[in-house]
Amino acid sequence: MSLTYLEAIREAQYEALRRNPDVFIYGQDIGQFGGAFKATKGLMNEFPGRVLDAPISEDAMVGLAIGAAIEGSRPIVEMQFADFSSVGFNQIVNQAATLYWRTDVPCPITIRLPSGGTAGSGPFHSQSMESIYAHYPGLVIVCPATVEDAYWMLLDSVELDDPVIFCEHKFLYYHLKADSFGERDLPIGRARIARPGRDATVVTYSAMVHEAVRAADELQQDGYQVEVVDLRSVKPMDVDTILASVARTGRLLALGESFPWGGVTAEVVARVVTDGFHLLDAPPMRLNSKDTPIPYHTQLWKAHRPTVATVTDALRRLLRY
């Protein structure tokens, strides 16, 4: 049997609905239709009245979920694309993120953001918004890179008493396969060594983990052992694991798919140098997308985001330093 990343998300939701009657799912076209990406396929029939189609009202969708959470429900909100969460932004960062701190009432909602670029999707169906949400206090931002993490971290997210922004990468939906969902091992907040090495550390997350691993494989032919750290959650960020890796390798490349100003790669670099400056044998490096909207044409898109080629190139420079 082979399970995809997308199936992991569907199965995790199935399991969450099964385990806890307080869980429900709310989003556009997620009922009978099963969602734009089929992440909720069949769930409406299996859990009648708990998988509901929403109007095109992202602000109200999130507002409804927060209200429901106050009353003890544990809603999952599916945004049709991460990009459209910009319309629900205010409810997310000002209402959900502040509720516990202001009132002592926790806000257990999970907002699923189908994220990241795929060929031909253009500026408004390709965005990665983890860096935006991570800036705000009161939110947990997870970015699973594997089928196993997609499954377990979604279950963890729904069980968490705090609002979780669940960034699932559309590029991985069908591409990524596993034999099983494995076991629940690392909790949210802990990074994983996706590939061990001793010569340089790539800290990354989500789809870029796979570009990094492939770059590391390529460099192995030149005799380099590159370690890849998969952040899993970008907030909280597991700085201990990152520093331990940099302590071994002395070299850091922070890699992310989203826009270059600020964001995860800046935070990674800043944390490493403020807490582990002397671990570094070379200046740290960053690699992100280019500083323009995400292009529609495949040729442009491939050049806009980091790929195995540009990661390998960056690593070569880092290793040669």
């Binding site: 602000d59 507002g63 009353e71 947990v140 960020m237």
Partner: protein, 326 residues
């Protein structure tokens, strides 16, 4: 008459707040009052039962809060920033609330509470424990221009939730008059466009307000879906106490819309002999004494101590990052 007593209590409390603000120094932050809107607000509040119904109040609903059952010390404690208040000094003034008791704590972004209150009702219904509970959310007429208002009302209509959307058309949104806010002659007509019921009421007239909310809340309780109600009145104070509202022309202040609902209510009470002069005077004294006691209590209470603050925005403490900066 319950609603009138609430009005007096609210007005007394707010007059005190205005004085404290003007005296300066003791209150934290600004002061936002509901002067001129007590009849409408109280008439809504008396229909709602604490820990049974839901009230998502706007900034001018001291009266509705009192009638609903907000703990009496909550306002003063919040204005003084006492750690014993429900917001513990973290948030203030009209942003206070007790979500678990059915009184969500508003965020400032106008319109945002419509869908939130809808979500509370939605969850209770899904959990099978809605019963005959209703939710009310209040806004000013300016709030009807927000996308959040529209999305929230439409969603409540689709879900046929027992939601009362009580808009106070007090003629101004801060300094902005209605001709720059909307172009329709009757905001209640928006109801039809959402497929819900809508009506108007004279917000300066307590008896009419009580009557209207009695009907509206009854309709919501009995399954008629969302109810939009527009109360017409004038804000008899600044937007906040920092604002002298000099932009409101005298002619408006002197027009029927500018009547003080307190005076009218008092007349109505006397006319119907529900209370006599003496009883009213006594009640006012009681309210004043109560307010002074609240001030005395709240003033003495400790301010939040930054060194004791946990500074954690997540309930899951192990996921809070330390003070990693520096």
């Amino acid at each position: 008459m319950e609603a009138f007593r609430v009005m007096v209590r609210a007005r007394t409390l707010e007059d005190k707040l205005a004085n404290l603000y003007k005296a300066g120094g003791r209150l934290v932050g600004g002061v936002y009052l509901g002067k001129g809107q007590e009849a409408y607000s109280a008439a809504l509040g008396i229909q709602l039962r604490w820990q049974h119904d839901i009230l998502g109040p706007f900034i001018r609903d001291q009266a509705a809060r009192i009638a609903f059952g907000e703990p009496p010390l909550d306002p003063m404690r919040t204005y003084f920033g006492s750690v014993r208040g429900p917001m513990r000094g973290r948030d203030g003034n009209v942003h206070r609330g007790r979500p678990k008791d059915g009184l969500p704590a508003m965020i400032s972004h106008i319109g945002s509470m419509v869908s939130l209150v809808s979500g509370m009702l939605f969850a209770r219904r899904m959990q099978g424990r809605l019963g005959d509970a209703v939710g009310a959310v209040t806004l000013g007429e300016g709030g009807t221009s927000t996308g959040a208002f529209h999305e929230g009302v439409n969603l409540a209509a689709v879900e046929k939730l027992p939601l009362i959307i009580a808009v106070t058309n007090n003629q101004y949104s801060y300094s902005t008059s209605n001709d720059r806010q909307f172009a329709c002659s009757d905001l209640a007509e928006r109801a039809k466009g959402y497929g819900i019921q809508g009506r108007n009421v004279d917000g300066t007239d307590l008896i009419q307000c009580v009557q209207a909310f009695d009907e509206v809340v009854r309709a919501a309780r009995s399954g008629s879906g969302p109810q939009l109600i527009i109360g017409h009145t004038l804000r008899l104070t600044g937007h906040g106490e920092h604002d002298d509202s000099s932009y409101i022309p005298e002619s408006v202040k002197k027009s029927p819309i500018g009547r003080d609902c307190m005076l009218i209510a008092e007349q109505q009470i006397l006319e119907h002999a529900w209370m006599n002069d003496k009883e009213i005077a006594e009640w006012k004294n009681t309210c004043r004494a109560d307010v002074e006691r609240m001030v005395a209590t709240a003033m003495k209470e400790p301010a939040p101590d930054p060194f004791k603050e946990p500074w954690r925005a997540l309930s899951t403490s192990e996921l809070c990052e330390g003070q990693w900066t520096v």
